[in-house]
């Protein structure tokens, strides 16, 4: 059998195959974008900039027959589709998740590479992968049963008693459902991918760099941060962005612990928030009752906003990764 010629014959087939796959995924992204645009178009006209600046979400009076018309588009009287609370919540929960997950994933990855005995490493790596495979709703359930009560009954009162001088912490701490719980859940959910990526970029470095630093009398921490990290910085940044993209769009677990705030901003990290993804799910039922249909279309417009945010984050992540690859060569 001539393996080489066979492989050579396969080459164009593979090329065409991956070409089609790449084209198909680009086309799907494009079609989703078109669909969202078309479906949300009346809402885009009705809401104007209000979808990004308005604070009040109200599908309008469903019992009367009175309607309002704006820009040639009609909705129930009193309708207002302001999405700022949700845009803010999306960014705030993801940002908090990153604040928690970035240093934590760094520490875990460093420990995985340099501290876990070789025999236990497969086990540790499997654990990380298992963590990545846990369904969102399970994280949410754990959040409801364990995390939220802990935040509400332990952390909240503690913060009120001792940390009332810290801005963003002082004030009413509530039930535990809210920004902090959502941020913690999101951090746990994106942790595996960040740890795995960072671990892989560290392992891709020649181990001699680490040894060289240690042999000069550095601590492990100095070796990682000063000798190893500068060459993995871009890879890590890309991992953070990919994780951020996931956190921004995460739905179920966040919905279960965020407190589902409507029409109000949290005044500290304990209070209820809502994210775009969560509000689309939680408001869908009532939106479907909107006789004018504008509530559904406004939710679709919110989806479009989320889609664009994550698209930008992912594109930046791709570009960073490409930069990282190039600088690694």
């Amino acid at each position: 059998m001539n393996n080489l010629t066979q492989r050579a014959r396969m080459q164009p087939v593979l090329g065409v195959g991956t070409g089609i796959a790449a084209f198909a995924s680009a086309a799907i992204v494009f079609l989703i974008l078109i669909f969202l645009l078309v479906f949300a178009w009346p809402a885009i006209r009705f809401n104007g900039s209000g979808i990004l600046t308005g604070v009040i979400w109200n599908i309008g009076n469903q019992y009367g027959s009175s309607t309002v018309t704006h820009n040639g588009v009609t909705a129930q009287a009193g309708a207002s589709f302001g999405g700022l609370v949700f845009v803010f919540g999306t960014i705030a929960t993801s940002a908090l998740a990153m604040v928690i997950a970035v240093p934590l994933s760094f520490l875990v990855a460093v420990a995985l590479v340099y501290r876990v005995p070789r025999k236990l490493q497969p086990l540790a790596n499997t654990l990380v992968e298992l963590m990545a495979g846990v369904p969102s709703v399970v994280y949410g359930l754990w959040g409801i049963v364990v995390l939220v009560p802990w935040v509400g009954n332990q952390l909240g009162p503690f913060a009120q008693a001792h940390l009332s001088w810290v801005p963003l912490v002082r004030g009413e701490t509530g039930s535990g459902n809210g920004l902090l719980a959502a941020g913690i859940i999101l951090a746990l959910m994106v942790l595996p991918i960040m740890v795995a990526t960072l671990r892989d970029v560290i392992l891709a470095q020649p181990p001699t760099i680490f040894e060289a630093s240690m042999a000069l009398g550095s601590t492990t921490w100095q070796a990682v941060t000063r000798a190893v990290f500068p060459s993995v910085r871009k890879g890590f940044l890309a991992a953070v962005l990919v994780a951020l993209g996931r956190a921004l769009g995460e739905t179920m677990a966040v919905l279960m612990v965020c407190g589902a705030a409507i029409n109000q901003f949290p005044s500290n990290i304990f209070q209820a928030v809502n994210t775009i993804a969560a509000v689309i799910v939680s408001q869908l039922d009532s939106a479907l009752t909107d006789a004018s249909g504008m509530a559904q279309r406004s939710l679709a417009e919110l989806a479009l906003v989320l889609f664009l945010i994550t698209l930008v984050v992912n594109v930046v992540a791709r570009l960073t990764l490409r930069g990282a690859d190039r600088s690694a060569q």
Binding site: Y114, R115, V116, P117, R118, K119, P206, T208, I209, F210, E211, A212, S213, M214, A215, L216, G217, S218, T219, Q222, R226, A227, P230, S231
Partner: protein, 276 residues
């Protein structure tokens, strides 16, 4: 280099020059007592004991896989970095056991520097490479760092070649220059002992002879332990030679003794080329 010992019964024709050992009154810098090293259940060093006097050069020779690297890495606690390696026995530096409980390996590695087989520059500039050690030990003053860099690079016989490219990437230096830069990097932290694991094995003869000259110089200020594959090199540069075989220290003595009057048959077989 000093002339060959004037011995009639010199059995090894190719040993043309050996260094004279220094006066025996010098203090013991390193004393290794019953050292054993295990990789998991495999014992790579068995019960090795030896002493290294201050300001001298000791060569470790032996066939590939006999445990030279394993031994030398135990002397500055590099094995601590691998969770699966176990070290038993004592290594006394100026009389104090570096493996005693409570001793911080970081300070030990500060005092006992190491040069590796392959040059391992950081992907940074030449300057940043050389001052890496001083920086992590808390020196931030640019002028002071510059002084240290110049002194170390001069000492490593590299200054004239790199003084105009201190802010260029160290990765652009030649292999021999990189290795001398790595030596300068160790000198910059002013250790007391320098361990070298075949520092010239990846280099051409000219770069090798530069490194050998440099080691001769270093000896005035430092105690040097060097692993080498080349018996000629051991003969040229070292005062003492230790011969390892399959994890055991077979023989140790002044280089002249070991190469001209080996006490053990296995040493003789090895240095006459009958083994390995």
């Amino acid at each position: 280099m000093l002339q060959a010992p004037d011995r009639e019964d010199q059995p090894l024709m190719y040993v043309t020059t050996t260094k004279n050992a220094p006066e025996p009154s010098v203090a013991t810098k390193l004393q290794i007592e019953r050292l054993s090293v295990f990789y998991g259940s495999f014992q790579a060093i068995r019960d090795a004991s030896l002493e290294v006097p201050e300001n001298c050069v000791m060569s470790l020779i032996g066939p590939s896989g006999c445990g030279k690297s394993t031994f030398i890495r135990a002397v500055n606690r590099m094995h601590d970095l691998s969770p699966d390696v176990r070290v038993e026995g004592k290594v006394l530096l100026d009389g104090a056991n570096i493996y005693a409980p409570g001793v911080d390996p970081v300070t030990i590695r500060h005092r006992i520097g190491m040069v590796f087989q392959r040059p391992n520059p950081f992907p940074k500039t030449v300057f940043e490479n050389v001052v890496y050690g001083p920086r992590i030990h808390g020196i931030g003053n640019r002028k002071k760092l510059m002084e240290i860099a110049e002194r170390s690079l001069r000492h490593a016989a590299l200054w004239d070649e790199v003084k105009d490219r201190l802010d260029k990437s160290a990765l652009d230096l030649s292999g021999g220059q990189q290795q001398r830069m790595c030596i300068a990097r160790v000198l910059a932290v002013e250790p007391e002992v320098i361990l070298m694991d075949e520092p010239a094995s990846a280099l051409d003869p000219i770069a090798t002879s530069k490194i050998e000259d440099l080691i001769g110089e270093l000896q005035r200020f430092y105690t040097v332990v060097i692993v080498t594959h080349s018996m000629q090199q051991a003969a040229r540069i070292s005062d003492y030679t230790a011969f390892f075989l399959m994890g055991e220290l077979i023989e140790i003595g002044t280089t002249t003794e070991v190469f001209t009057k080996p006490k053990d048959k296995r040493t003789e077989d090895y240095i006459t080329g009958r083994y390995g």
